[in-house]
Point group: C2
Chain length 221, copies 2
């Protein structure tokens, strides 16, 4: 397996990209590198009150999700190289608000919450970056709630195809989990979209042929 220096991975994250060189080394020295197999659990919703860690994805893909009592799953986001998760728990001292699992063989760096909080206390540029990041996340979750409450499935699928460049390669079941619906409904939505000429279905990948129409459907439905 390929080895990547923690410093290089940290520089990919908006949180750490602009740190002073020696601060970065200080942090890098305190990271634990962890490797996960595909489908392996990284953190679990509700865990770790008080002892949480910030996670930085070095390589691979991490699925952040919530599961309902009857097993249905809502995927909140997919994290890739340079993305971080666990911030909410780090900054408010509560348990993890969602679970995380490796989607494929994945390497992450884990950093104890107190390291992050110390850094935020002493480095204004860093706390600023944290605030910007949290604001962005909040915005994104607000939009997700809005979409779930006010738009139909076809609309949400259209939006996903427009905004997530690699949605085109997900399976229909994965798309369903990201838009809060089911595989069958997503399948029908996709066929309906292809009927309008907005997209084309090619085996297991999707080609957006008419983004304009897709945009229309995304915010009309």
């Amino acid at each position: 397996m390929q080895v990547i220096a923690p410093e290089r991975a940290l520089r990919c994250s908006p949180l750490f990209a602009d740190l002073e060189r020696d601060t970065l080394e200080h942090i890098a020295a305190r990271c634990q590198e962890r490797r996960y197999a595909s489908r392996q659990r990284i953190v679990t919703e509700g865990d770790g009150s008080g002892q949480v860690e910030l996670h930085i994805v070095v390589s691979g893909v991490v699925r952040i999700f919530k599961r309902s009592f009857d097993g249905r799953e809502l995927v909140l986001s997919l994290m890739r190289r340079g993305d971080t998760f666990g911030e909410a728990a780090v900054f408010d001292g509560g348990p993890y608000p969602a679970s995380a699992e490796a989607q494929e063989p994945t390497v992450v760096l884990a950093l104890a919450a107190c390291e992050i909080r110390n850094l935020a206390r002493t480095d204004p540029a860093f706390s600023d970056a944290c605030l910007r990041l949290m604001a962005g996340r909040l915005r994104q979750m607000t939009t997700m709630a809005e979409d779930l409450a006010l738009r139909r499935v076809m609309s949400r699928v259209s939006k996903l195809l427009l905004t997530d460049p690699d949605a085109a390669h997900l399976t229909q079941a994965q798309i369903a989990a990201m838009v809060g619906s089911t595989r069958e409904v997503v399948n029908r939505s996709l066929h309906s979209l292809s009927g309008c000429g907005a997209i084309e279905l090619h085996g297991q990948s999707i080609l957006v042929t008419d983004p304009e129409q897709l945009r229309l459907i995304a915010h009309t439905g």
Copy 2:
């Protein structure tokens, strides 16, 4: 109308409660007090890129909401004395992610984004409070998205009744907007809950008689 010193109102907010006395006065001096009639618009989604303000509720109630293209409304939260809104826009420099309207005659303090950002840069305790606040908001929106995607309306109504102490006095249409549904469906859910003996309906207010059963329904449905 009653007059409240800005300092007193600021002390009600978790963001400003622990500021040094003279820092607080510095901030208070830069606040603008604004008064709004019932139903008057305070901020509008999409507005104010770059020139946003943080708002602190002094008295009254502010409804934070999003509206769909066809007029349906999702209420994200109701803000009261000491609550703040507009943080997401303040910290990431984007436009307001949602709209805000006074629900009743309301007084707010408005503070230019740059004041807040300056303070966050120079006062670690303050930036810490900001981060805690943002983390809490993020958690809350994540939960909202989860509920919308994974729970049925009756469940969401039950949860609202359990967690929002003054939900009992809202109209059914307001409850509907808070759980992302419609008045009729909420009406039927409430009658169904009263049929189970979990609540009692008394004219335009609701009495929770069996919180335990309500809890059960809230996370079973």
